[in-house]
């Protein structure tokens, strides 16, 4: 067991830090320190392209597909330096963290060559078409249909909670391609261009007042016959493989965002004297400890993954961070007091901490609710009996 980095790795760190500093104090000073995903989308696209040009976009990917062949330790270092430099959240995080790794794992050579470099160069932004109005926790209950017509797949149906679809070029969609099939059977994993008349993106107005998520409608939407990952009917397998990637090195970058949020809570507590309140001190200490344990939990998972082992603790990560962040939102409001409940001006748009209090209510729902996570942990990690299925339609 070793937590420190080698001198060679520290050289890599210095190189990454120097590049990030130069860019974020130079041409990209305007995006430095941004925290929301939806601010300045055009500049965020420019930033994605700049990272891609310099080979810093998808550092863990093979060079052949636009990556840097970085080792695990180097990926960890880059995630740390990225956050330390105040670089903004990645507009294309779904492409980088979900679509890319899935294509890398399940795609043909042609698909890899077609899609991966475009993600790495920041040219194509991706979003995820999983949930539907009738398929939330019970994701396998998707009703969006697709069928072959000539050289195309035709897609009909509706997806929901498609985060960032308004900025995206591509969406990956789980659709039912075998008529009359039920549950996880008969599904396919399709790659669909967003910019076409058959795809309509309608924003969902959230409790925060923002609209990061969308409903996405498919009405005679089309994609090429070869834009399928795996064989027809393999969709569930591919989708479940993708869930594994949601716990990769990107978790460390996500944690850097959490670090900034906790620092903001601490700064607010120091400014208004709540930092002296012993109860608040206990909760801040709990948050500090929780954040460190996310980091070291991620390093355990990643070390095992690099050695080809799945650490069962990976199954606990989602509920861990989501609950941590929800607690932080509540702590933030308790620190701010009533002052946090109003905002200047007429627009319903709250600053970062009150917004966190509202937004974090989504964290314990999307990507598998806390309750679904507990089922997964109990069934897959602890070997307890599976939940019985009901038969209501």
């Amino acid at each position: 067991m070793k937590l420190g980095f080698s001198p060679e790795e520290e050289v890599f760190r210095a190189e990454a830090a120097a590049w990030l500093k130069a860019e974020l104090e130079g041409a990209f000073a305007d995006v430095r320190g941004l925290t929301s995903l939806t601010e300045m989308p055009e500049r965020r696209r420019d930033w994605e392209r700049r990272l891609g040009d310099a080979g810093w976009s998808c550092v863990g990917w093979p060079r052949a597909y636009g990556g840097r062949d970085a080792t695990l330790a180097q990926q960890v270092i880059f995630a740390e330096e990225y956050a330390r430099a105040g670089a903004p959240p990645r507009l294309n995080h779904i492409g980088i963290e979900l679509a890319g790794p899935t294509i890398l794992a399940f795609g043909s050579e042609e698909q890899k060559a077609r899609f991966l470099p475009a993600i790495a160069r920041g040219e194509e932004i991706w979003c995820q078409g999983y949930s539907e109005p009738g398929a939330g926790s019970d994701l396998a209950n998707v009703r969006t249909r697709a069928w072959r017509e000539g050289g195309d797949w035709v897609i009909e149906g509706q997806k929901v909670w498609t985060s960032l679809a308004q900025f995206s070029d591509w969406i990956f969609v789980i659709a039912r391609t075998e008529e009359g099939s039920k549950g996880p059977k008969g599904l396919s994993f399709l790659l669909v261009p967003v910019d076409q008349s058959g795809v309509t993106v309608r924003p969902i107005h959230q409790i925060t007042g923002e609209a990061e998520f969308n409903e996405t409608f498919f009405d005679d939407a089309r994609t090429a016959a070869e834009s399928i990952l795996g064989e027809p009917g393999d969709g569930w397998k591919v989708a479940m493989g993708l869930l594994g990637f949601e716990r990769g090195v990107s978790t460390l970058a996500q944690q850097m965002g959490f670090r900034n949020e906790l620092d903001a809570v601490i700064a607010a507590a120091r400014a208004n004297g709540e930092a002296k309140n012993p109860l608040i001190r206990q909760r801040i200490a709990k948050a500090e400890i929780g954040l460190k344990l996310m980091r070291y939990g991620a390093l355990r998972m990643l070390t095992d993954a690099e050695g080809g082992r799945l650490n069962p603790s990976a199954l606990t990560y989602k509920i861990q961070w989501a609950t941590w962040r929800r607690d932080l939102g509540e702590l933030a409001m308790d620190v701010l007091g009533q002052a946090g409940e109003t905002v200047a001006g007429h627009e319903y748009a709250f600053p970062a901490l009150p917004n966190l209090f509202l937004y974090s209510r989504a964290d314990t729902i999307y990507g598998g609710t806390n309750e679904i996570q507990r089922n997964i942990i109990a069934e897959r990690a602890l070997g307890l009996p599976r939940e019985p299925r009901g038969d209501l339609k």
Binding site: M1, K2, L3, G4, F5, E9, L72, A73, V76, I266, A267, A269, R270, A271, A275, P278, R281, Q282, I284, A285, K286, E288, I289, G290, K292, L293, Y296, G297, L299, R300, L302, T303, D304, G307, S313, T316, I319, Q320, E371, Q373, R374, N375, I377, A378, E379, A381, L382, G383, L384, P385, E387
Partner: protein, 358 residues
């Protein structure tokens, strides 16, 4: 960066797992509980036969010359079986105090005998939750230490007095030892009274206390981790066997979710314990933060899991016959010993910069 056991550490873990599973049985622990709180044959086997007790003591002083990760491995496995051993007292507290604060002569005189099991030692932190305290004056120690783990059985005491650290041997003139009936019978306390006992002192008392507390906190946290994991494993097994309403109670979501929450906490406790162990070994700037975090988090996790173990076992979990109370009581003792979780979190709050100017 490699946050997993090395091959050698995995081998040590396997050895420790097998050793404690085979030897630290419920029957033997209960026999020790009814007696002195130490399974002397087990301690003998662990120290001399297995020869791994001095895992964190240098080879030149009769130890194995490894570090905190390896010590944590042993503490975790002992905790998994609520082994009735002075592992914390002798190896987690007294030995590191002497190693860090003793003269070369003192180290050479005591440490090889502690490593070999010939001497069982304990540590008295008179100023942590202990009044009235003890004072050194002209080579004599006067006062008392109220709660010394395994104090009625150990041969040697390292006493962190108000103005220095003393070594007191059992049988010293003026030393009174009063065994205390203790809730956790696997680690019973004793009261020590010092009536002007002639003592020797450690050369560097600050280093001694710092090392003892740091190592002790880690060892308690690792014990808590192993205990919590045992609570989960045994409760998962029981809920799959126990049938009510025509189904195993482990198939009810109300039960599954509570077991899942135990695992979520335990995996974090595992990260905390081995992070702290590495941070101490690597002399990281984070070491103090890490060890306070580990002590607070692992002890809270153990308390939670041991409570759930009783609840999810139902009535049988409330009987003396079932082992659940061994875990529940050791969890309580771990939480109180050398600073409660709240106290450790308050240290974290200070380290996190809450007292810096706004």
């Amino acid at each position: 960066m490699h946050f997993a056991f090395t091959d050698e550490q995995a081998m040590i873990a396997e050895t420790a797992k097998t050793f404690f599973a085979e030897n630290a049985t419920s029957e033997r622990t209960r026999a020790a509980m009814a007696d002195t709180g130490i399974d002397k044959a087990l301690w003998q086997a662990f120290t001399s036969e297995l020869g791994l007790a001095g895992v964190a003591i240098p080879e030149a002083l009769g130890g194995v010359g490894l570090g905190m990760v390896e010590l944590a491995i042993f503490a975790e496995e002992a905790g998994r079986h609520t082994a009735a051993l002075p592992l914390l007292a002798s190896l987690g507290l007294a030995a590191p105090a002497i190693l860090a604060g003793g003269t070369d002569e003192q180290k050479a005189r005591f440490l090889p005998r502690i490593a070999s099991g010939e001497l069982m030692a304990s540590f008295a932190a008179v100023n942590m939750g202990g009044t009235p305290g003890a004072t050194l004056s002209d080579g004599t120690l006067t006062g008392a230490a109220l709660l010394v783990p395994h104090g009625a059985s150990t041969d040697l005491f390292v006493v962190a007095a108000d103005n220095g650290v003393a070594i007191v041997e059992r049988g010293a003139l003026g030393l009174g030892i009063t065994p205390l009936t203790s809730m956790d019978q696997t680690r019973p306390y004793a009261r020590l009274d010092f009536g002007g006992v002639a003592v020797e002192t450690l050369a560097d008392p600050r280093a001694a206390v710092h090392a003892a507390l740091t190592t002790g906190w880690l060892a308690i946290a690792a014990d808590a981790l192993g205990g919590a994991q045992a609570c989960l494993d045994r409760t998962v097994a029981y809920t799959q066997e126990r049938i009510q309403f025509g189904r195993s109670i482990g198939s009810f979501q109300a039960v599954k979710h509570r077991l899942a929450d135990m695992m979520v906490a335990i995996e974090q406790a595992r990260s905390a314990v081995y992070w702290a162990a590495c941070a101490i070994d690597e002399r990281s700037d984070e070491a103090a933060f890490a060890v306070h975090a580990a002590k607070a988090f692992a002890c809270d996790t153990y308390t939670h899991c041991a409570g759930e173990m009783i609840q999810l076992h139902g009535g049988i979990g409330f009987t003396w016959e079932h082992d659940a109370h061994l875990y529940f009581k050791r969890a309580r003792s771990n939480a109180s010993l050398l600073g409660t979780p709240d106290w450790h979190r308050e240290q974290v709050a200070g380290l996190a910069g809450l007292d810096d100017a706004a």
